[in-house]
């Protein structure tokens, strides 16, 4: 007969194993709530800027630096993407969080587009439409990461084409995006994979300064 030691050890192991799973779940929940908090903070900052835009003079707003906001948004983007890897894309809370993040990105994009036009700014604005499980999108994502690293660009907005959300659907309609990868660089649309050198050339042709 199997010894008491075997049964007791098996039970303790099973218990430890379960503790590990609960602990992992607790950490994931904490990270998710952390991401939610960051999202809320960012959203209230952006709303603050938008309100300021209607209240204060153009001159004051034009001299405002939004880099910090963009850096924080990029951090949030990484958090959401990490959570995606950890929880799986089908997790309902994460799906909601990802949709919110996309709405935030588009709201920031629209705000910066308006500031760019009104204040005659020259910073580039890049919208990148991608879809999951697409080799060309993986390659395009890596190319944009390299561009971001080289030029310290904080105004690249990655939009998941597959997300069924009003704001994403509207932006797809505005630029008539029907396939991935698609880039919209300073309002000009480029379909299909664009190489690093070509993106550099477009950015340099259209932009004289980085910000």
């Amino acid at each position: 007969m199997v010894s008491l030691r075997f049964v007791a050890t098996f039970s303790i192991t099973a218990l430890t194993f379960l503790i590990g799973i609960f602990l992992g779940q607790a950490v994931s929940d904490y990270r998710l709530s952390e991401a939610q908090q960051s999202q809320n903070d960012l959203m209230s900052s952006l709303i603050g800027y938008e309100l300021a835009y209607t209240l204060i003079s153009e001159h004051d707003l034009c001299s405002t630096d939004f880099t910090e906001l963009q850096i924080e948004r990029a951090k949030l983007g990484r958090k959401v993407s990490e959570l995606g890897e950890r929880l799986g894309q089908n997790d309902s809370t994460l799906r909601y969080q990802t949709e919110l993040y996309h709405t935030y990105q588009l709201r920031e994009y629209s705000f910066l587009k308006k500031v760019k036009q009104d204040c005659n700014k020259t910073y580039p604005l890049v919208l990148y439409f991608y879809s999951n499980n697409n080799d060309l999108c993986v390659a395009q994502g890596q190319t944009l990461d390299a561009i971001q690293a080289k030029y310290n660009l904080t105004t690249i907005y990655a939009i998941n084409y597959e997300i069924d959300n009003p704001s994403v659907n509207i932006i797809k309609k505005i630029y008539n995006v029907t396939s991935t990868p698609t880039l919209v660089i300073n309002e000009n649309k480029y379909e299909g994979f664009i190489r690093f050198e070509k993106i550099e050339e477009i950015l340099y042709r259209n932009t004289t300064s980085k910000n």
Binding site: M1, V2, F17, G20, R86, L136, Q142, A149, F193, F196
Partner: protein
């Protein structure tokens, strides 16, 4: 693009984590139950003992080996030392013959098992010991062992084997491996779960060979085969961790590979031959230790096969992406890695931390209960390197074993 193996890997990690924690806790329970049983029993009776040293071209070590036996703290009239030269082409025979107080025989080269059987036929002792020619014994080793034989169920006892050469990295890694392995064997022997008495100073009850026959000359691992045969006859094996012996371990990777391929081949053959030992009839050895040993080896094979396949997939994917986007993004992403701890699964991290703690506990226990003269703290750097490369090495040796078996078309 090739599939992402991430989720398969996670499931594998969970299974391996469960098995590792289970075997770790099992060890802990045996340790806590037996903290006072790690020392060898004091002998009441001094048995007559014959120690056989088989040698084949072992000129480099033979003198030191015999001299260590002559220094044994044991009544000289109760000790017989037999050297069997297995057709050496060097001067092993001459060197052995030059030492007085021992019996030296010479026979044609037929392999280690045949040499041992020759020695057994000449031996007169109640106990028969075997010492590989490249090994030495501490003067108290035999005295620490014989006390176990007062229990009539004990068929054989093996010594507390340590490595002798500890200069290069490979030797240092084997030092840790041998220490942990000794501790494992000692711990398993406390619940009568030992299934091997290695060739470095293992002592057998002489009558056993009359009952079950002598060494199988067709064997790769004659020590494993005879041990399993002894166990199958209802005897138990014991480990005297405080009976200190030293053995020379392979100094080069190719020598180590050759040794491990032989061990693995012997393990496969004998596990097939003695698979009936995996039964409740043989206690914890049957329902836990042997199955767990097999699961451990299969686990290494499966996990490292997965890692290798995943690495190949990732390489192909990377090359494919480079073919699309060119080298610039690839190089830039290497120079600007987006490093984050976010990829670490908290659950996996928890299991890994627990396993590491268990490993450190076992290292500390190995020092304490195997009466090791070097502190476990001094062994820590070797231990961590061993943890890191050990699995890969074992995997490689298994692949080499299968390749050898296939090439030689060995039929089991």
């Amino acid at each position: 693009m090739l599939p992402d193996l991430g989720s398969i890997g996670l499931i594998l990690i969970y299974i391996i984590a469960f098995i590792t924690l289970f075997s770790g806790f099992y060890m802990v329970s045996i340790i806590f139950e037996n903290t006072k049983n790690y020392s060898s029993p004091k002998p009441k009776k001094i048995y007559s003992a014959s120690i056989i040293v088989p040698v084949h071209n072992g000129s480099k070590y033979i003198t030191e080996c015999i001299e260590s036996l002559l220094k044994l703290n044991y009544p000289k009239d109760k000790l017989e030392i037999i050297v069997v030269d297995d057709g050496s082409t060097d001067d092993s025979f001459k060197k052995a013959k030059a030492i007085s107080g021992i019996k030296v025989y010479r026979k044609k080269h037929e392999g280690k098992s045949a040499a041992l059987n020759y020695g057994i036929r000449k031996a007169r002792g109640e106990l028969i010991g075997i010492l590989d020619a490249d090994s030495t014994v501490d003067k108290n080793a035999l005295m620490k062992i014989i006390g176990f034989f007062e229990d009539p169920k004990v068929g054989a006892v093996h010594s507390g084997m340590r490595t002798k050469n500890r200069k290069n990295l490979l030797e240092k890694l084997q030092e840790v491996e041998y220490l942990l392995s000794l501790f494992l064997k000692k711990t398993y022997s406390l619940v009568d779960g030992l299934y091997i008495t290695p060739g470095v100073f293992s002592i057998y009850r002489a009558k056993i060979f009359k009952e079950i026959g002598s060494f199988d000359t067709a064997e790769f691992s004659e020590d494993l085969e005879i041990s399993m045969r002894i166990v199958s006859q209802g005897y138990i094996l014991k480990c005297a961790a405080d009976a200190i012996t030293y053995t020379n371990v392979p100094s080069t990777f190719s020598d180590l590979k050759r040794q491990r391929v032989r061990w693995n081949s012997g393990l496969i053959k004998n596990m097939k031959r003695y698979s009936f030992l995996m039964s409740e009839k043989y206690g914890e050895l049957g329902y836990y230790i042997l199955p767990m040993m097999i699961i451990g080896h299969i686990g290494i094979l499966v996990f490292f096969s997965y890692i290798s396949i995943d690495a190949i997939f990732q390489l192909i994917n990377t090359l494919y992406l480079i073919s699309i986007s060119g080298l610039t993004p690839f190089l830039s992403n290497i120079l600007h890695p987006k490093f984050s701890f976010g990829f670490i699964q908290s659950t996996v991290f928890f299991y890994a931390a627990l396993t590491t703690l268990l490993g450190l506990f076992f290292l500390q226990c190995s020092e304490k209960y195997c009466f090791y003269r070097k502190s476990s703290l001094a062994l820590l750097p070797q231990y961590f390197v061993y943890l890191f490369v050990g699995g890969f090495a074992y995997f490689y040796f298994w692949i080499a074993t299968f390749y050898t078996i296939l090439r030689r078309d060995i039929k089991w």
